[in-house]
Amino acid sequence: VSSAVLPAVLSIVLTAASDRVGVDDPVQVAVEVRNVSPTPVLMIGVVDGAESGARYPRWTPVIEGPNGPLVPERPDFTSPLRPADFRRLEPGESFDPTVSAGGAAWFPLASFDAISQHPGRYSVAVELDTEAPDDQAWQGTLPDRRPSAAAEAAVVAKLLADVPRLRARSNTVTITVEP
């Protein structure tokens, strides 16, 4: 069943702090992910490797500008998922997947910040993809040496089963980088 025919589960809204920034200035774009379904939803924020597509969930920036698409740096080792990386959203509740909370290891979308390296007009959006082919595609590649690794992996496997499989795309914001 294509996710396109399913009722919406999440909405993703980008909000730029300013539509004009100077070269090398920080680019502040807030990401609001809201549960628009009538039931609770479990989701994972931007863990390392999620931006570059190295692992699921994929939080892929979609940036169009004068220099073509930006390629985010792909980490050589991605962190194992931990229970704290999951966020449970009640109906109507929202969170910013780029801001760590409650022990989660989420990171800002570095590609947004990178656009200010070159002047020009950029359109910015983000796509979320949780349609991983298997559980392995969620897991990090870094060896987890903690004594609790096996225990946490079992908990993560249970939690992963409750993450809805979907694709969603945010609105598009336009930012101009001034020389």
């Binding site: 920080p26 390629v71 050589d76 060896p143 987890d144 903690r146 004594p147 609790s148 946490e152 249970k158």
Partner: protein, 758 residues
């Protein structure tokens, strides 16, 4: 890594342009810090300001020394002056045997006292060892010599904690570098590799200098000895697609790394390659992270990192050093928690091992902020690891990626700074044990937040969700490692007002490391529960004493209990395996010779539990089943219950305190034994005896006034042995409709005298 000691100062002294630290200044700062941090002194920050001296006129003492004593060789690393001194000394021991030499262990002294005199420098402190050292203190004396003269040998004297001299090594100066490694950089044909970068070309957080890869490691105290690169590596090794996989990179290493051998060795390989199959975002990879001997090679991908311009060259340098850092067993700055022992993640680290985009510093976050502040160096914790980590935790081909030496970080069990888990973990046990007595702890996980919490009922350390640290006073802490790790999914239940706590009883006296309480003395225990939401709930510290035997009988019984087979039998709660016969014989001797000794209860317990179940063995390629011996088991387990509840009175009553000479089963174990007795009667067709025993169990715990939710749980456990009427009777009035004081025998009444083993 074990050298990252949260109890000691982990900072190196900073590097300043054209300035190195003289040992006088380091000693002064060390003394000021000790004084400032002393409880009786006013706490003021020491003035960590480098005194600019002409380094060429100074006699530095830091560096690598080497010496021998008897058949042993010591590589000694002194790090108390020069560039970024970490104020530590460390070393590796080797043993010569004929024409061979084997590594046998390492040590580090984290915060030594440094005394600088006119004629010599004395460095002294107690070390942390990768083995049990009898002489953990180290005093190093280094004569001062005039400038430009050869360095004098360092005398390393090991001493007991009480100051009694141990072995002495006279160590000759070998190198200003603390470690040396052979470095071979091979190049895929057509690649223009990185050579050098001038850190003054762009704004940065450190002094301007020209850095090559060996120079970057040289600043960390690691000498990279360049090996001649071989012929260019043909791109054909990447396959027809000309894109590298980890497997192809490993094969290329085996073929082209001229000094490669699959063993721990101070040599490392880097391949300047084209592109990895992971795609154009991957700048480099330490690909050797899967087999037995890991961390021997890495690769960087010039289709991604190559090009010209200062930013490109700067990033290229970082990628080269970063990937080689993995070969020295360094994790990313934001992933330190996944190492063993774990360290805190360091998102604010200005390190080669950080991802610029992940940097979060006081002066800003992200890539631009990182590069503005980055001084082109490893952070302090990494520097200590590189210079002083136990050899196998650092050397390529040594410990697997992410694993430190066989040591644990007591910090893992430190109090949490913030605890919003809503849970409390309690660990309890009698405060005294006679030597040889099986140490059984009780774990209790309780709800603090009455809104409720989902918890995992699998609290036994065998399941891996709970770890128990055990430290003998003055000794190194160990994590209890169960003999058999049970891979089992968590069983999640909701703790709430109706069920505010769960319990588990665990025998932790014997595991993979053998006996954990095999010597008299004071022990401290602490447990850690890994909650489903990622919280780590730390228990109280349990202190218990293992008492030395005072009589000949106690001594002999202790000997009969301390043995690998006996430990295994206690762990398994009995077994008829032939390989454990010596253990069973030892327990039989206890029962025969000392039937009234309190510790005989445990021999009865093991024998009784073993006899209660069938045992299968393979003989002549056929499975032969040995049936359960209910009669023998009944006798043995009844004796256990009888001994625990003499004259029908519970030892658990508050009126009778436990004593080391009268060990007792904990409530949970006693419940287990009584339930097994009841089940066995049911299995043997004695339904009346089973229900009588079941009711005895509830009555026994009624006498102990256990909480209602525990009582409810016990009734649930025995309900399969009771009629509906009996269950209702227990539920309604809390009184048993029939039954007897707990006794363990089928008919109730007095406990039986102890049976003798046939």
């Amino acid at each position: 890594m074990p050298v990252y000691d949260p109890t000691s100062v982990a900072h190196s002294l900073p590097m300043a342009p054209k300035t190195a630290w003289a040992v006088e200044d380091v000693a002064r700062i060390q003394a000021e810090m000790v004084q400032a941090l002393a409880p009786t002194a006013p706490v003021t920050a020491p003035a960590a300001v480098p005194v600019v001296r002409d380094v060429a006129q100074q006699t530095t003492v830091s560096g690598r020394y080497r010496g021998n004593a008897a058949d042993f060789e010591l590589e000694l690393r002194i790090d108390v002056d020069g560039l970024r001194p970490t104020r530590r000394v460390s070393g590796d021991f080797f043993q010569r045997s004929g024409g061979t030499m084997a590594y046998i262990g390492s040590f580090i002294v984290n915060t030594p006292d440094i005394q600088v005199g006119p004629d010599q420098i004395v460095i002294e402190g107690e070390g942390v060892y990768s083995f049990d050292s009898g002489s953990p203190r180290l005093r190093i004396a280094i004569p001062r010599v005039p400038d430009l003269m050869p360095r004098a040998p360092a005398t390393a004297q090991f001493l007991t904690s009480a100051g009694i001299p141990g072995q002495t090594f006279s160590c000759n100066y070998e190198s200003p570098f603390l470690r040396a490694i052979e470095f071979e950089r091979d190049i895929v044909e057509g690649i223009q590799p990185f050579e050098a970068y001038d850190t003054g070309r762009l704004l940065s957080g450190g002094p301007a200098r020209v850095l090559t890869v060996p120079a970057a490691f040289g600043e960390a105290g690691i000498e990279m000895i360049d090996l001649d690169p071989g012929d260019p590596v043909p791109i054909d090794l990447a396959g027809a697609d000309r894109i590298w996989s980890n497997r192809e990179l490993h094969a290329a290493m085996e073929r082209h790394f001229s000094r490669w051998s699959d063993e721990p060795a101070w040599r490392v390989w880097l391949l300047a390659a084209t592109i990895h199959e992971e795609g154009p975002g991957l700048r480099g990879i330490m690909f050797d992270a899967m087999d037995q001997r890991q961390r021997q090679g890495c690769a960087v991908f010039h289709d991604v990192i190559g090009g010209t311009g200062d930013r490109v060259t700067r990033a290229m340098l970082r990628t080269y050093v970063h990937e080689l850092g993995h070969c020295f067993n360094l994790y990313h700055s934001h992933q330190k928690e996944f190492m063993n022992p774990p360290q805190p993640n360091r998102l604010d680290a200005l390190s080669w091992m950080h991802y610029p985009a992940n940097y979060r510093g006081a002066g800003g976050s992200g890539e631009a902020a990182y590069w503005r502040a980055f001084p082109f160096q490893f952070d302090d914790g990494e520097l200590i690891h590189l210079r002083h980590g136990f050899r196998d935790a650092v050397i390529p081909g040594g410990q697997p990626f992410g694993l430190g030496a066989a040591d644990i970080d007591p910090g893992m069990f430190a109090d949490q700074i913030a605890d919003e888990s809503g849970l409390e973990l309690e660990i309890r046990a009698p405060d005294r044990f006679m030597l040889g007595t099986p140490v059984v702890i009780e774990l209790k996980l309780s709800l603090l937040d009455l809104r409720g919490r989902t918890v995992n009922t699998k609290l036994h350390p065998n399941f891996g969700y709970v770890q128990v640290a055990i430290a003998r006073l003055g000794g190194k802490p160990k994590i209890y490692r169960p003999l058999i790790t049970h891979c089992i999914e968590p069983e999640l239940v909701m703790l709430d007002r109706n069920r505010p706590s769960i319990y588990e009883s665990s025998y932790i006296g014997f595991g993979k490391d053998g006996f954990y309480f095999d010597a008299p003395g004071q022990y401290e225990l602490r447990a850690l529960y890994n909650a489903p939401d990622g919280s780590r709930v730390i228990s109280n510290v349990l202190r218990l004493r293992v008492k030395a035997p005072l009589t000949r009988e106690e001594d002999e019984v202790a000997d009969l209990f301390i043995g690998t087979e006996q430990g295994t039998l206690l762990y398994l709660l009995g077994s008829e395996s032939e390989s454990l016969r010596r253990g069973r014989d030892a327990f039989a001797t206890v029962i025969e010779k000392y039937p009234d000794n309190p510790m005989a209860s445990y021999a009865y317990l093991v024998e009784g539990m073993s006899a209660s179940r069938p045992f299968k063995r393979i003989e002549d390629h056929k499975v032969v089943s040995q049936p359960a011996d209910f009669g023998r088991s009944e006798n043995m387990l009844s004796a256990v219950v009888g001994a625990t509840t003499p004259s029908g009175k519970s030892l658990f009553a508050d009126t009778e305190a436990p004593s080391p000479s009268k060990p007792r089963l904990d409530n949970i174990s006693l419940n287990m034994v009584m339930q097994r007795l009841a089940e066995m009667r049911k299995e043997a067709g004695n339904d009346a005896g089973a229900s009588t025993m079941a009711i005895d169990i509830v009555r026994h715990f009624d006498n102990l006034q256990v909480p209602p939710h525990v009582r409810k749980r016990i009734i649930e456990q025995v309900s399969k042995l009771l009629t509906e009427e009996q269950i209702d009777g227990l539920r309604e009035n809390g009184a048993a409709p029939s039954g007897n004081p707990p006794s363990g025998n089928a008919g109730g009444g007095k406990a039986r005298s102890r049976p003798r083993r046939k």
